[in-house]
Subunit: 269 residues, 2 copies
Amino acid sequence: MKNKTRRLEIVRVSGAKANRQRDLVARESPVTILLNDVELVTLLCSPSDLENLAAGFLFGEGLINSRKEIKSIFADSKNGAVWVETKDGKKPQENLNAKRQVVTGCGKAFSFTNAALAKKTLKADSKFRMSASSVLPLMKDFQGRSEIYRKTGGVHSAGLANLKGIIYFSEDIGRHNAIDKVLGECLLKVVKTDRLVLVTSGRVSSDIVIKAGRSSIPIIVSKSAPTDLAVALARELGIAIVGFVRGSRMNVYSNEWRLSTKPRRGKIR
Amino acid sequence: MKNKTRRLEIVRVSGAKANRQRDLVARESPVTILLNDVELVTLLCSPSDLENLAAGFLFGEGLINSRKEIKSIFADSKNGAVWVETKDGKKPQENLNAKRQVVTGCGKAFSFTNAALAKKTLKADSKFRMSASSVLPLMKDFQGRSEIYRKTGGVHSAGLANLKGIIYFSEDIGRHNAIDKVLGECLLKVVKTDRLVLVTSGRVSSDIVIKAGRSSIPIIVSKSAPTDLAVALARELGIAIVGFVRGSRMNVYSNEWRLSTKPRRGKIR
């Protein structure tokens, strides 16, 4: 916790009262990922689990495909840098570089003109299903783990769950970073993800679906909303998006066969 | 509204019931900004106000400094592209390019080693103040305008306000984009921003403070939390961050002299 939050003096206003107090805020640090000694990207992130972050980022961007391609990975958290060396030692090309960095953070500009290629490289192929009724306790478990969020209100969280519960969990000031951290941890530990559920506190935009697709994740669960592009992509890729998981309610936006409930066909409004 | 939302068929689960229904989700589109015919960045955004988005993005990144540098700006919303031509016609350099794209979306890796330069180029110099009690109706007005959020839950919003109320407002699936759109609108309309308040639905990270600093915005108001780096930077730049504006409460994290309330000095916890 210590390196993820910082105590600052603030003025708390409540009605007509104003008091100087100390309060916790989430820490934010710039961290540069170097691939074979070439500076690839600088992410603003919560300064923890930097190896996982780098591995997840490189995997999500298609720059590495498996654990065995990595020769070494070293995080210098003091100076905000992670060095990743691959066995082939290939330096990222300048142009590819620019292209890649374009897509960082704000997300990847996925072209639907080549849906066939996307389906081939990103598809969630497993027949994994879960019951809709088990989504609710999963979200409750997920939210209960958000320690930094409870203390600061300033972070997103991401988790990976199997049918028994959450097995990997991460918090970060960026919703993309939190997801990269859990997926990167699986990559580094060589854990198969094609029967795991990705849980996120954040909105589900197309770049989140692409990250899930790269890891063959079959179901994305969010307490927030997806975009139309995310839903269209998830429908193509075989991924179920479950959004607005709140209380005993949720919306299933795609591949609802993965959620075992028998929908009574209602009137289309 | 029509081009900002899309109606999709979803399965709504409530307790043991599941019904097929139609529901609105926020639209998301990739939009490429071209500066003097060079592809600079592709943003995933809500497809509206693309000229404002491009102008705000270029200004925030320091690629243009004023309206008069722009020769022409043309948005092709159908194909997701905005062409910006500057009077000097200078093409962005490949290397600068890469550097800039690094900072997109996830935010700018601001170096505190050169705080003097930052203060010179980003400082909020005006003596602008507002009363703390007027922050609450401002936030209420702000939230009341969030039409797409109410319908989809999937967007962020940003506004610019003077002491009378909100004068510019924007919604976008990205919190950075929403801010770029309102600041870009001011740039294109040659509106001075050094006595305007930036209101955001999102978390305040350091890149948001840099965007505000570029526009000499004196106060940032958010219903959410700032990071430690954002607070440190705002303290340097003369910007007040007001966070967690909820009900009759708020936290002031920096430059509290801009909020006219007389803080009773309480015990430091």
